[in-house]
Amino acid sequence: MNSETFPSYPLAELAVLADLPPRTVRYYVQIGLVDRPEGETRAARYGTRHLEQLLQIRKWTAAGVSLERIRELLHGAPPPVPPRERAIGSVSVCSHLTVAEGVEVVIDAQRAGLSPEAVRQFIQGVMAAFEAVQGQGGAASQGAAAHNTDKNDRQAGEP
């Protein structure tokens, strides 16, 4: 047994200490926000570390932080680098691919990190999938000859 888990409580006691319903505590454990307990079923015991995690979560949820974000904050393992934010005024070039009338795929190959071959493969897959769906729906075959006009669109990036 790990020394840092001393003193140890059963789930019900931990919930009282953290002032949360037992169900919510268990939910946090199940979704990985709080570490799993030591020991099995009835004998499961929680320690100071778990209590600290719970109090931290309580503080953050009260401040309106989503559980997903809390998970990232607690388990800094994948470093908490915020996703690249698109700066205001930055310009990105996207390809708009018309699959059929009313169906368009927008690809920013640079951000997606796709090679031209990968893009082509992806597009072929999309086309095939669309044709399959159309065949199923028995819709009018007017859009069967899907024409892919590949046009480049200059967009002012907004966050």
């Binding site: 789930l11 019900a12 319903p21 037992p22 169900r23 919510t24 268990r26 939910y27 946090y28 454990v29 199940q30 979704i31 990985g32 799993r36 307990p37 099995e40 079923t41 009835r42 499961a44 949820t61 309106g64 559980l67 205001i88 005024g89 009313g102 368009e104 967009q155 002012a156 907004e158």
Partner: protein
Amino acid sequence: MQQQSARLETRAGEALTLQGVRFTGTLRGTLFEAELEQRFANPFERHVELVYSFPLPWAAVLLGVEVRIGERCLSGAVIEKKQAEQGYEDALAEGNTAILLEQNFDGSYTLNLGNLARGETCVLRLRYAQVLQFEQHGLRLVVPTVIAPRYGDPVADAGLKPHQVVEHDLMAVHPFELTLRIEGELARARIGSPSHPLSMRLQGEGETAAMLVSLGRGGALDRDFILVLDEVAQDSLALCAHDTLDEGAVNVLASFSPRVPAAAHPLAVKILVDCSGSMQGDSIAAARRALQAIIAGLREGERFSLSRFGSTVEHRSRALWRTSAATRLAGQRWAMQLQADLGGTEMENALASTLDLAGAAGASPGTEEGAAAADLLLITDGQIHAIDRTVERARALGHRIFVVGIGSAPAEGVLRRLAEETGGACDFVAPGEAVEPAVLRMFARLRSQHMDALQLVWPTGAAPLWMGALPGSVFDGDAVTVWARFAQVPHGWVPDQPVRLVGRMAQEDAPVTLGEASLSAVEPHAVLGRMAVAAQVESLLAADGPQSRQALELAVAYQLVSPLTHFLLVEARAEADKPEDMPDLVKVPAMLPAGYGGLGSLDFCVEPNMAPLAVNDAPTAYGAPAAADFGSFDMNALDAPAVMRSGGRVLRSERRTQASTYDIPAFLRRGADRAADEPPRDDPRYWSAEPHYSGLTPLGLAHWLRSHPQAEWPRTYAALRRIGVGTAVLDWLEFVLADGQDEAQVVACFVEAMAQRELHDALRSTNGMLGRLKALTQRVRPAAAPEARQTDVATESLGASLQVFVSTLQAEAWPDCVFALRDAASARERSGVGVE
């Protein structure tokens, strides 16, 4: 993170946890009894805890839960909430199997299926009953199947616990089967469904005939099932049933179909449309159609206003419009251009802001009959979490709220509460369903007489032990249902004695009988008895809050799941079968409602055999709307699909007028080369960004015209819009001032009048009274720049009305006549000296 990997499997379609739902129901009179069968399985390698949140119909009473795990049939009990939660936790900690069914604060239910072993299956059967309400001579049966994503924080706003929050998955598919049996009189009704193709079969003959209804094609849990029955005789009735526990007691369900005369005062309605992101697609299209029908259905002399909301609220007019050709055209144009582009759903503030228009309406000239308070008509899908707060606020505002609910899974509970607690009414339109019948029904309610002081008059000698609250208002043709309980069969009580619903018309003293129902003979009827108790529990909760001891005792005694009580079942597992640790959590993802947020459209899926039903006969009342010759009336059809028109891709010219100033990037706001010429948009003297008007102010326009050469002056309405003149002014020009004149002439005269140097100076020098007085003196002077003027009579009259108009101008705001769509001269006369 086991939970995530588990979900990945589900996405691949291999590992379904909710394998299907089968629904069976029987409709007898207005009593609908149903059984919902949910089939679960654990396809994973480890033991899991399944959590599934689902809706039951509004006002449905859960009567029983049966469980089969593997081949074992189990039964549980309804106990106090805290005990149930504790029992469930203990069972899981021990490694036993447990099932907990909770009723959530928002009226939905959450099923917790703890410790389902690998490969094990579980079948859950829920029995419930509800009393359907006749609405405008038709019955509408709704079986909700899914909870749509809602706006707001589920934990902070709706009081849900984290595990009860619904998660949606676009890839999830849950099959849905349905069979209904419609007995008695109703079997001969006209039956149809706007939501699903049906197959129907008549069984038996004569009195015992029953109509069997099932889905014509496999369904999925992605849209409400709706069954509409009409052309049925609607009766008042009072059913009496023995209580199940208390031998002597009698429960009574009294249902009236009231007759209410039409109101004497003309209708005044404030229309508020939800333009939040969730309305995208089919919903906003249906909202547009509904609005067109509403505007077309307004009569001369009635008043209305138009507003839309999302994160913010925008009012088309500053006060109520009097219905006229001009206001109808402007309204129809506004409705046609509606987009679901206002982001979030801040309903609370939008309601308050719209009702604030009342002050303006009362004070505005020409509202002699201003005594009649305006009602609010809300068109929305109701997808919000902050239900309690919104209802609370709406009630405090003190106006009746009428709701048209839209979408394939509208939040019925939210909308019904909103309507009922404010004394309004609620109606629903499914995607692909004709909106006109719902709009006609709404008008019938809006135009019916307000009734106060509703009361039930029982036969002499009968005093109920308990009686449910009567609704705050009653409408012609909308059933009123009341539950009551008597300690024993009263003395001298014979069947067929009438119980009467009486009310009083506003401003009159004499009570009027609205409906009369004959008491039936007292029969044993377990379902009815328990439903009466459920109604009592609900009213106790409303009155005393969650501390009510009596509510808790009743709910436990009659085994009713309520906000105070949960259903719990525990099955002890053999020691060898017990898992060693906590089960993995698997939330059953909900399907995304069909057509939600513009993801696909149901409008293209309507087939002949599911053609929408008109509840009344063809809406001939409309005739040709005033706008039949309106050039772009059919723009809905030509419109680009809504999904393609998200914020970023809106045309720049459109954007300028729709979005508030601050949404517009600086480099779009002012041409870099001619910044000096453009009126500054951050200065309220030049640019107005109010909820009812966003665009150039009079001073702003005058400034623009003075600083641009005459050759660049706008010559068309579109050109005026481009330089920043707002919709209100343009509609006023087109629908009021033009009066048949052609566009070029109207614009030329208007621009010329606005460009007068004296006007510009007067507006700039001051804002307020002084500016107006100066402008007034202008009127006697000959107009400047006479060279552009032709001397025909029509232009003369245009010029004359424009001079009157110009004389009322203030620097920062357009005069009232613009927002009321009236001509300037008549507006002045009506209000005496001047228009405030």
